[in-house]
Symmetry: C2
Subunit: 328 residues, 2 copies
């Protein structure tokens, strides 16, 4: 993107053009070269939104709960952006379908923006893309940004680190508690929800979770365990109150956390940007002679990598970004 | 590790010292600086073992099946190495417990070596660590290397790429087929197993899988769908025959695949090595002034990253490896 196009994009973004917001999110998804410069320009506008995460195993009712949350937050007059991330379905494109279905409901409401992200960028790329979309929604002016993930793997845990307040949604089923512990959800939850609370075992699960929460080392925030029924909205007011309480508690100790978050973000941008440049170099001309030697079996992959890394000029050829702009 | 220590390690490894094998695997787990040099030295010994992957949702009976496979392969006189990878449990350390329990059975059998890997290296690090452990077991002289993963996420798919023959284990349960498709397991399976075949729905799942397999574009190998019962060993002989058949079919087209695998491996080593050097740089002195500016809020993370990446000298400070040895 040429500097003047970048300028126009940023101006339209700042004037509240939703199509430009959508287009910039697509640039993030496609890992465009323009993203770091866009993010740098918008960064001063970030930091106002509350970032709320919703996670838990598939089928726990997260989407329904998110929809109920959106409605209540809208009733308070708050503008709500949603990022739904599905790292578990690299082939199905299911996230995009879900996106469209859900968009229908809020189609006419300018105060709501919903976007799905699917598994395009591997190796931590999805977590970074999520954070960038959160920044964009924040800079665009949404008061609350909801991040919803499906599944319970390492990728989801990485993604949830962007949230200030993380809700973990569970349903009363055998073995659930152990799954929570195994998947690391116990550590990341700021609010626990036992959804489908009319089912047998809901009260027992709540008790088990409360016992586990009390064993956590963090004495500054005692994570509440709420009974909810997303389908009819039971417990959603309690949830909103719990979010407000956690946000208030968080504000009192936010400065240090923000410092750490900035450092972590810087490191992750560097890491992903290096990885991206390497990808382009491997696909391009700079590394072709070595690739040919590897194809012929004249050198093994470890020797090839060590040789490249030992040579400063090769490193610079590999990672220096000479072209700027032109490509989307 | 000093050059002479490296030499001694390599000699003991080559003489078949299992404690040295275990120690080198620990170096891989800890992402030691010595790993690329060790791998380079051992690479010429690799490429003899069959690499067999076993994956599928939790509770499908993968571990029991692996144990039965080990027994049959041992009965054929083959030496068997096993890597069990559990990317889903970053906190529990469950993999290591499973390791110990299973090691007991084969404790006195020198022809079997079982090792678990847990989620230490994030961001693709686990897939690379798995491949390195596979190389080590291969170079050590195991005839078959089994790679077992738990779960169905993107990390597991990445890990399974190391396998030459991938077994996907399923159980007859409602919705299973859709899960398979969603999780990308359909694409990676070379042999499908419907385990717990005495359960209702086993035959139907087999039929559904066979129909789906026929829709796959690869005409060179028609993945069989086998009914097994891991607990009593039913179907394990058929499984061995299917593995042999797939390996034979694979050999006929292996040269090109090996080329691609070498290129991919080279790229991944470069990527992970850069990421590792960056991690060390961030933790060390080279980037401290920038880190201080970030802490104070004098610069935002994107500007900090772009400034660092735009400066060749900074890149070299960041990624050049000056020290060699000393640290484990």
């Amino acid at each position: 993107m040429a500097p003047q196009d970048l300028q126009i994009t940023l101006e339209r973004f700042s004037s509240g053009d939703r199509r430009v917001l959508a287009r910039v999110i697509t640039l993030v998804e496609n890992r465009s070269r323009d993203v770091p410069r866009i993010m740098r320009a918008l960064y001063p506008k970030c930091g106002r939104a509350r970032v709320l995460g919703i996670t838990g195993p598939p089928g726990a009712g997260k989407s329904t709960l998110t929809d109920k949350l959106i409605a209540r937050l809208r009733a308070r007059g708050r503008r709500v952006g949603v990022v739904a991330v599905d790292p578990s379905s690299p082939f199905s494109g299911g996230a995009i379908l879900g996106d469209r279905v859900r968009m229908q409901e809020h189609f006419l409401d300018d105060g709501v923006f919903i976007r799905s992200l699917s598994t395009r960028g591997r190796h931590g790329g999805l977590a970074r893309a999520t954070r960038e979309v959160v920044h964009l929604l924040d800079a665009f002016g949404f008061d609350d940004v909801l991040v919803e993930t499906v599944g319970v793997g390492q990728t989801e845990l990485d993604i949830m680190r962007v949230a200030q307040t993380t809700m973990v949604v569970l349903v009363p089923e055998a073995g659930d508690t152990i799954q929570v512990m195994k998947a690391g959800l116990l550590e990341i939850g700021d609010v626990f929800l036992v959804n489908k609370a009319d089912r047998e075992g809901a009260r027992r699960l709540k008790n088990e979770l409360e016992a586990m929460v009390q064993l956590r080392p963090d004495a500054r925030w005692q994570a509440p365990v709420l009974l909810t029924q997303a389908t009819d909205g039971t417990g959603v007011d309690d949830l909103l109150a719990a979010i407000d309480a956690h946000q208030a508690a968080r504000t009192r100790r936010a400065a240090h956390e923000d410092e750490e978050a900035r450092l972590q973000e810087w490191y992750e941008i560097l890491r992903d940007e290096l990885s991206l440049r390497l990808e382009r170099a491997v696909a391009g001309e700079a590394l072709r002679p070595m690739a040919e030697r590897l194809r012929r079996g004249d050198i093994d992959p470890y020797s090839a990598a060590l040789d490249t890394l030992a040579d400063p000029a090769a490193l610079e050829r590999l990672l220096g970004e000479r072209r700027d702009g032109g490509e989307e």
